[in-house]
Symmetry: C2
Subunit: 137 residues, 2 copies
C-alpha cells in the first residue's frame, strides 16, 4: 500500500509517517519504480503499535525499547513491564500535579468579582505566590 493508504489505515499524518522513518522508528519500505514508498502488513502493525503507544503517552525512546523487545520475542518481558510501570508512575505524578494546579486556579478564578484590573484578584494572585494555598511546582 502507498503512504496515503497507510495514513488512512492508521489515522497517522503522512508527514508523521515519513518522520518516523527518518528517525528509524519505522523501517524504510520498498520503493516502486516511481520511487513511491510501498508498505505491507508488517509496516501497518508496527505503525499501529507506535501510534497506540504515543496515544498512551510513551515517548519515542520508550517506544524504541518496546519495539526492540517485540522484535526479540525470546527476551525477558521484565523490561516492558518496567517501562510501562515507570510511565504509569509518571502519569500518576502528573495527575497529582495538575490537581494541585486545578485547585489553585479554582481558588484564583473564584475570587474575581469583576471591576478594573487594579483590583483584580486574579492578577494579584499571579503576582504573589504567598496567596497560594499549597506549594505547586
Amino acid at each position: 500500500m502507498k503512504i496515503g493508504e497507510l495514513s488512512r489505515a492508521t489515522g497517522t499524518n503522512i508527514e508523521t509517517i515519513r518522520y518516523y522513518e527518518r528517525i528509524g522508528l519505522l523501517p524504510a519500505p520498498h520503493r516502486t519504480a516511481a520511487n513511491y514508498r510501498s508498505y505491507g502488513d508488517a509496516h501497518r502493525s508496527r505503525l499501529t503499535f507506535v501510534r497506540h503507544s504515543r496515544d498512551l503517552g510513551f515517548t519515542i525512546e520508550e517506544i524504541r525499547s518496546l519495539l526492540d523487545l517485540s522484535d526479540h520475542p525470546e527476551r525477558d518481558c521484565g523490561e516492558a513491564d518496567r517501562i510501562a510501570s515507570l510511565h504509569l508512575e509518571q502519569v500518576e505524578e502528573k495527575i497529582a500535579q495538575l490537581a494541585l494546579l486545578r485547585d489553585e486556579l479554582t481558588r484564583i478564578v473564584g475570587r474575581c468579582r469583576g471591576g478594573v484590573a487594579a483590583d483584580c484578584r486574579v492578577i494579584e494572585a499571579l503576582g504573589d505566590h504567598r496567596l497560594c494555598a499549597a506549594e505547586h511546582p
Copy 2:
C-alpha cells in the same frame, strides 16, 4: 541587581531571564559601564509574576495578555478572568484525559505475569487497540 542575583531571587535560570527579555516578556534593563544587565524591584516583581504564571501552566501568550492588563489597571478585569477560566477548563480536561490513560496503563501493567516477550501482555496490548477498555485520545 545583576542577572545572577535576580536569578537566585526568583529561582529562574539565567538563560531563561535573557530569553524572556529577547521575546519581549521582560523589559530590557539598564546596563552598567561593563554592559552588565542591572535590574530593579520592578523587574523582580514582573519576573515573579511571569514565573508564577508559568508554574500554573499559563502559556507565554496568555502571560503577555495578563501582563498587559496588569500594566493598565484602569481596564476591565473580565479578560483576566476569562483567560484564567479557560485555562482552568483546559487543566480539567487534561486531568480527565490523563485519568483515562492511567486506567488503561494500570490494566496493561497489571496483566504482565513475567515470562518472555513473545507472551508479554504489555506488548500485546500496545499492538492492539481493541484490547483497551475505553477510547483514549
